[in-house]
C-alpha cells in the first residue's frame, strides 16, 4: 500500500502553534501580568542592584565610626539616621543586602544541589535507596529549622561561611522531597520508557528526560527558599551566630538596634523593613512562578489575557 499525497501531513495543521517566544520570556510575561509578582520582580531587581553596586551608591563607608554624630535621627545627611557608633544606617542597610544575598544564594545553592541529587536518586531507584535517603531527610526535617541551624553552628562554630553551610543543610529535605515526588511521576512517563527501549543509560535518562521535566517546582522552591534563607541568616546573625562584626548584616543591626529601641528606633526599623521587603518580594515572585509554570494555570491566564 502506498501513501497518497493527502496522507502527507502538514505540520501545524490542527495543532496550536505557540507564538514564537521562548519559554523563559513567556514565563516572565505571565509573571508581569500578576501585580504582586511584578512588584516582587521589581523589588528583587532593585535588591540585586543594591547587592552588586551598593558600595558605590552608599553615601558613607558602612564601617566608618563618627562618634559625635551618633544616634542622630533620619536627616538629609543620614536618610536612615546613624547608630550608636555614628555609622550611617542607610549605608549599612545597603551593605547588608550584599551579605544577605551572598548567604542566601550560597545556602540555597547547597540545598538545591544536595536536595535535587538526593531526590532524583531516591525517586528514580526507589526501594532501599529511597527508604534510607528519605528517612534521613525526614530526620533533618523533624527539627525546627532555626534550631537545627543553631546546632550545626554550635558544632562548626559561628561565622558567615558556617552560617551558609548550616542554612544550606537545613533546607536540603525540602528540595529532596519535591524532587523525589516529581521524579516518581515523571519516571513513569512513556518517553522515559521509550528512552529505555532505545538503550539510554540511567544517567542519561535522569539528565535528559527527568530533570528538565521536573524543573518547574524546583525553580519555584528555589525562589521561596531564598526568602527563607535570608530570613534564617538574619535570625542567626541576630543571635550572634552568623555574620560577625564589623561586617554589616541586617540581623546584626537588628540585634544592635534592640538596645537603643527607645533612643534610636531607626537603628532597628530600617534593617527590619529591609528584611521584610526582601522576603516578601521573593515570596511574591515564588508564588507568581508557581502560577506561571503550572500549565493549567497558564492556560487560564493566557485566555484571560486574550479576552482583555
Amino acid at each position: 500500500m502506498t501513501d497518497d499525497p493527502e496522507d502527507r501531513a502538514t505540520p501545524g495543521a490542527g495543532a496550536p502553534i505557540a507564538e514564537h517566544r521562548t519559554r523563559t520570556r513567556e514565563t516572565i510575561g505571565i509573571l508581569l501580568t500578576n501585580r504582586l509578582s511584578a512588584f516582587g520582580l521589581v523589588v528583587m531587581g532593585l535588591l540585586i542592584f543594591t547587592a552588586v553596586f551598593g558600595s558605590m551608591v552608599a553615601p558613607y563607608d558602612p564601617t566608618s565610626v563618627d562618634i559625635p554624630a551618633r544616634l542622630s535621627g533620619p536627616s538629609l545627611d543620614h536618610p536612615f539616621g546613624t547608630d550608636n557608633l555614628g555609622r550611617d544606617v542607610f549605608s549599612r542597610v545597603l551593605a547588608g543586602a550584599r551579605v544577605s544575598f551572598q548567604v542566601g544564594i550560597v545556602a540555597v545553592g547547597i540545598s538545591l544541589t544536595m536536595g535535587v541529587v538526593t531526590g532524583l536518586v531516591a525517586g528514580f531507584y526507589s526501594g532501599a535507596a529511597d527508604a534510607v535517603l528519605m528517612r534521613a531527610m525526614d530526620m533533618l526535617f523533624a527539627f525546627p529549622a532555626i534550631l537545627l541551624a543553631i546546632a550545626v553552628l554550635a558544632v562548626l562554630g559561628p561565622g558567615i561561611t558556617n552560617a551558609m553551610i548550616a542554612i544550606g543543610i537545613v533546607y536540603i529535605p525540602i528540595f529532596a522531597r519535591i524532587t523525589r515526588a516529581s521524579t516518581l511521576v515523571v519516571k513513569e512517563e512513556l518517553y522515559v520508557r521509550a528512552a529505555r527501549s532505545v538503550g539510554a543509560s540511567d544517567l542519561r535518562i535522569l539528565r535528559r528526560h527527568i530533570l528538565p521535566n521536573i524543573l518547574a517546582p524546583i525553580i519555584v522552591q528555589t525562589s521561596l527558599s531564598l526568602a527563607f534563607a535570608i530570613l534564617a541568616e538574619a535570625a542567626l546573625s541576630f543571635l550572634g551566630l552568623g555574620v560577625q562584626r564589623p561586617t554589616p548584616a541586617w540581623g546584626r543591626m537588628l540585634a544592635e538596634g534592640r538596645d537603643f529601641v527607645n533612643q534610636a528606633p531607626w537603628m532597628g526599623i530600617f534593617p527590619g523593613i529591609a528584611v521584610f521587603v526582601t522576603v516578601l518580594a521573593f515570596n511574591f515572585v515564588g508564588d507568581g512562578l508557581r502560577d506561571a509554570l503550572d500549565p493549567k494555570q497558564k492556560s487560564v491566564i493566557e485566555s484571560r489575557g486574550r479576552a482583555v
Binding site: 500500500m1 501513501d3 501531513a9 505540520p11 518517553y191 521509550a194 532505545v198 535528559r208 521535566n213
Partner: protein
Amino acid sequence: MAPQRETILRVENIAKYFPITRGIVFQTKIGEVKAVDGVSFDLAKGETVGVVGESGCGKSTLARLIMRLEHPTRGQVFYQDRDIFAMPGSALRRLRRNIQMVMQDPYTSLNPRMTVGDIIGEPFEIHRDVAPRGDRRRKVQELLDYVGLNPEHISRYPHQFSGGQRQRIGIARALALRPKIIVCDEPVSALDVSIQAQVINLLERLQNELGLAYIFIAHDLSVVRHISDRVAVMYLGKVVEIGTEDEIYGRPTHPYTQALLSAVPVPDPTARAHRDVIRLEGDVPSPANPPSGCRFRTRCWKAKPICTEQEPPLTAQQADPHLSACHFAELRHVVA
C-alpha cells in the same frame, strides 16, 4: 501470507507475575497478579502478528517483556535463537537496535522539553557508531521526510504537532536504528479514526520497503485484521486462540474469540439484523486470582465441569486445524 519464512523472534512460555505486597518496612508478599501467564508464539521476518484482547489481559506487559523492559517470572524470548534475557550488555545494545517500539500515546511518549531533532536523534547519540556526529542532522531530516513530516520542522517541539504527526515522530524514532522488529503497543488507539488510517498506511508502507516485522498490539479488531498476517487472541494473560487472519476472523473456534468478533459494530443495517450477537455475562476475573481450569469458563456459555478441572491446552482442533484452547472448540460463523 508468511508461512515458510525465517523465524526472527520466538516467545516461549513466557510469564510475568507482579507481586502484591503488604507493609512498608517488612514487606510480605500476599499474592501475585498473573499479567502474562505462559505465552508462546513466533514471528517471521517481515511478518505482522496482531495481539488482541480486552484491557488488562496482559498485552502491554507482553510488549514490555519482548522489549526487555521487564524481567519475566519464567520463560524465554529468543531473538534469532539467542535468549534476550541471558544477553550480556554488549549484545543487549545490539538487540536494542534490532527491536524497537512505538508507544501507545503520542502525547506522552515524546519528551516535551526536547526538540523533534533531539528526540529522533537520541538513538544516534546512544548508539554513536550508527551515525557519525556530523551526519546526524541529515539522518534525522531523512527520517522526518520518510515518515511524511516536513524536514524543516526539525527544531520544533512536540506540542507544535498534532496527534497523528506526533505518532509519526514516534515511528521515526523507532526507525532510527534500522530495526528488524517493531513492537507497536496500541499505536493508533489514541488517534482519530481518519488519522488512524494514515498511520496504519504508513506502517504498512514501511513494512514493504524495509522488510520490518511487527508485533501489533491493539484492542480494535478491525485495525488488527487490516494489518496482521496472523492474530493471537489473549484472555487473562494467556493466548486462547492463534491463527492466520482468515482463520481467526473467518473460522474462529474459541468462544471468547467468537464473542469478541460478534461485538464488532456492523455498518450495514440489513447484515446487522441477521448477525449473531454473543453477550458475555459478568466482568473479566481478577488476574490476581484467575479461575481454575479454563480461565474463560466463568463467562462462557459452554462451560461444563471439565472446564473447571482441566485447563484446555492450546492445540489444533478438529473443527479447524489452527490453535485454540477450548475443550469444546467448534466453528461458529460470527462475522462476514
